[in-house]
């Protein structure tokens, strides 16, 4: 009996592989080169002893188009090698960010299990929020083998509840035709902004990480170095000088106090030549340079001490009933193969240590990947946005 079952499982899996292959067509040209060796034996029926059914789990992610493109590439690659798991990816366009989290939380509070969300991709704020509300599952290398490749410190930072599968950093992007020697420190940058009125712009911090990183870097400029890892509200009193600086900066920035919405807003200004310097995400700059959406004269520089950079995390819903399938997926995401895609496709920094990747990739990020700092302010980030809105925007 069990033998027949096994045979059926194998047969079903084979049929499924075939159907996915034919359905995905050209989307998975990498599939053959990736090889099934790196993935855990896909059709090993002992791992899924019960039925021939494939497990389908729901994965919610948000962000810009590049994030969607990434998952549109990675998921078919994964499904090719793991016919027993299907990923139902739900893309929430950016701007509507935390509705996914609210759903997860609401389902938990209502006792409705996972609420149809098994895996969530989001930033540190949601990770922290979820830790407080206890909605994320604790993860370990025991269930996800490739977790061993991830920097242990970053895992601990996230309470081992979130996988930093990729990261990027805010850098200073500038027009090298107009700016010969870019500022290297925050003080130099502030001096440059004042010396070149209306040639600098940073985006509204509540609409994008580049602007919020700039704001946070200014606020913590003269504070103790480890303050950026603290979410203790006591520090709020020390923001005053920083906010005064930002208020004063208002008349020197683009439009004498216009802060475009979203990370793309300032990139558009840099592209149209309305400003010469902006804080921006490295991956967005790299990608838009490659697509000719930014002038070739655009260059990047990291400040010392650096702007905020940080990982994007994958969190497993504690209420999920399909954790095994999710782990299988996460393991794949952390494989060198998938990570190489992340590097190529997203221009992102890999989530696993670079040493596990090819020499080529290691060279690409030499010197750039260092220098950024991970601000982990927890709820203080929201407080900063609020105060920025009332003190700086509405001054």
């Amino acid at each position: 009996m069990s033998r027949i079952n096994t045979r059926f499982t194998a047969l079903g899996a084979l049929a499924l592989t075939f159907s996915i292959l034919s359905a995905c067509g050209s989307a998975n040209t990498n599939a053959s080169s990736g090889g099934s060796a790196s993935a855990p034996a896909p059709a090993s029926s002992s791992a899924s002893p019960s039925k021939a059914d494939t497990v389908k789990f729901d994965f919610y992610f948000s962000g810009s188009q590049n994030v969607k493109d990434l998952w549109d590439t990675l998921i078919p690659m994964f499904e090719d090698q793991n016919p027993n798991v299907k990923v139902n990816a739900v893309y929430i366009p950016s701007g509507t960010d935390n509705q996914t989290y609210n759903k997860v939380l609401a389902a938990k509070k209502a006792g409705k299990g996972s609420g149809g969300i098994d895996l969530v991709e989001d930033g540190i704020v949601t990770v922290t929020q979820g830790q407080e509300d206890d909605v994320w599952e604790k993860l370990s290398a025991g269930s996800i083998a490739n977790l061993a490749n991830v920097d242990a410190q970053t895992m601990t930072d996230a309470g081992n509840m979130a996988i930093p599968y990729r990261s990027s950093a805010v850098i200073l992007a500038y027009n090298s035709e107009k700016v010969a020697t870019p500022p290297k420190t925050m003080d130099e940058l502030l001096a440059w902004i004042k010396a070149n009125p209306e040639r600098f712009a940073y985006n509204d911090p509540s609409t994008g990480g580049a602007g919020s990183s700039f704001v946070q870097t200014v606020l913590y400029k003269d504070l103790p170095a480890d303050a950026i890892h603290s979410s203790d509200p006591a520090i709020m009193e020390q923001w005053k000088t920083g906010f005064d600086e930002l208020k004063d900066l208002g008349k020197y920035v683009y439009g004498e106090g216009i802060y475009p919405k979203k990370n793309q807003g300032t990139l558009d200004l840099l592209n149209s030549g309305e400003v010469d310097m902006i804080p921006a995400w490295s991956d967005m700059v790299l990608q838009q340079l490659a697509a000719d959406q930014l002038p070739a004269s655009t260059k990047m520089v990291q400040m010392t001490p650096g702007f905020n950079g940080g990982p994007t995390y994958l969190m497993v819903n504690k209420q999920s009933e399909k954790k095994d399938a999710v782990y299988q997926f996460l393991n794949y995401v952390l494989s060198p193969e998938a990570q190489t895609v992340i590097v190529d496709k997203m221009n992102g920094f890999p989530g696993i240590e670079v040493s596990h990747l090819s020499q080529e990739v290691q060279d690409k990020f030499k010197g750039v990947i260092e220098g950024f700092r991970t601000f982990n302010l927890g709820d203080l980030g929201t407080e900063i946005n609020k105060r920025w809105q009332s003190d700086v925007a509405a001054q």
Partner: protein, 279 residues
């Protein structure tokens, strides 16, 4: 008697799906939102979230700004739409044909795309300023300013409003206007005493539509508006999504709803008056 009762039951059955739908997607969420908005910061129930709307400097600025943009936009939209509708209804010629064929186009362009289009058109280095530059005309700042929001509102609301008003004007028999001309009424008198009163109700409907669509708008003010003050829609999103203060956002939503109800009240009142006159 029995037949009457049967009809009544049938009527109830036929109305109930619409009523249920209304209950589930309109009434319940409003009630729920209202209840959420009553949660105070320290866990109790009070009106502190509403008090905040009027005591916080930023919120007050946002409310005033929202009302200002809404009133200006509504007036301009109705002015332009009414003029266009009149022109299309009572004139003829190539220009009228052209307008009639093209005025609906904005309805078919997705809002976000149109908004980015407006940014490209009206921005500091946009097409318009580039075209006007050789003529020595410098544009005032349109984008990241309330003017940008108003222009976007015109773009988004004029087609539908014009359509509404055009159909209202089409409903006025030509003979009624002829008889006014016949007794010696000039264009202005015909408009003020006959055309406007006869299309007044649709005018009110159009006003309600524009008012509500502007006051609750998000995309255009988010992308085109200033950082501060903000339209309530943008501020609501920030409070809800970024600051994560559901209760405060709920209070703002209820307040916006109340603002809309004011207009709804005028609309319903005029309908009721009409109904009474018909009795």
């Amino acid at each position: 008697m029995i037949k009457g009762r049967k009809e009544a039951v049938l009527g109830l059955i036929m109305v109930s799906p619409a009523f249920l739908l209304l209950l589930i997607i309109v009434v319940l969420p409003i009630v729920q939102t209202f209840v959420v908005s009553l949660h105070s910061e320290d866990g109790g129930y009070d009106l502190s979230r509403y008090a905040f709307l009027f005591t916080d400097r930023l919120m007050r600025m946002n409310i005033v700004f929202t009302l200002k943009v809404t009133v200006i936009s509504s007036l301009l939209v109705l002015l332009v739409s009414y003029a266009m509708a009149l022109f299309m209804s009572f004139s003829s010629g190539k220009l009228v044909d052209l307008i009639r064929k093209t005025y609906m186009i904005p309805l078919f362009i997705p809002g976000v795309i149109a908004t980015y289009g407006l940014i490209n058109l009206l921005g500091n280095h946009g097409w318009l300023s580039r075209m006007l530059l050789p003529l020595g005309i410098a544009l005032p700042r349109l984008i990241f300013d309330e003017k940008g929001i108003v222009i976007a509102n015109l773009w988004f609301n004029i087609p539908f409003t014009t359509m509404l008003l055009t159909s209202a004007l089409a409903g006025i028999p030509a003979s009624v206007i002829e008889s006014a001309k016949d007794i010696g009424a000039g264009r202005l008198s015909v408009f003020l005493r006959v055309i406007f009163p006869l299309s007044y109700k649709t005018f009110l409907v159009a006003l309600t539509f524009v008012f509500m669509s502007v006051i609750g708008s998000f995309t255009a003010p988010y992308l085109l508006g200033p950082n501060s003050p903000q339209m309530l829609g943008v501020s609501m999103q920030q409070v809800f999504g970024i600051f994560r203060e559901q209760e405060q956002a709920a209070a703002m939503a209820v307040f916006t709803f109340l603002l809309c109800s004011v207009l709804g009240y005028f609309y319903i009142r005029s309908m009721a008056k009409d109904e009474a006159a018909r009795m």
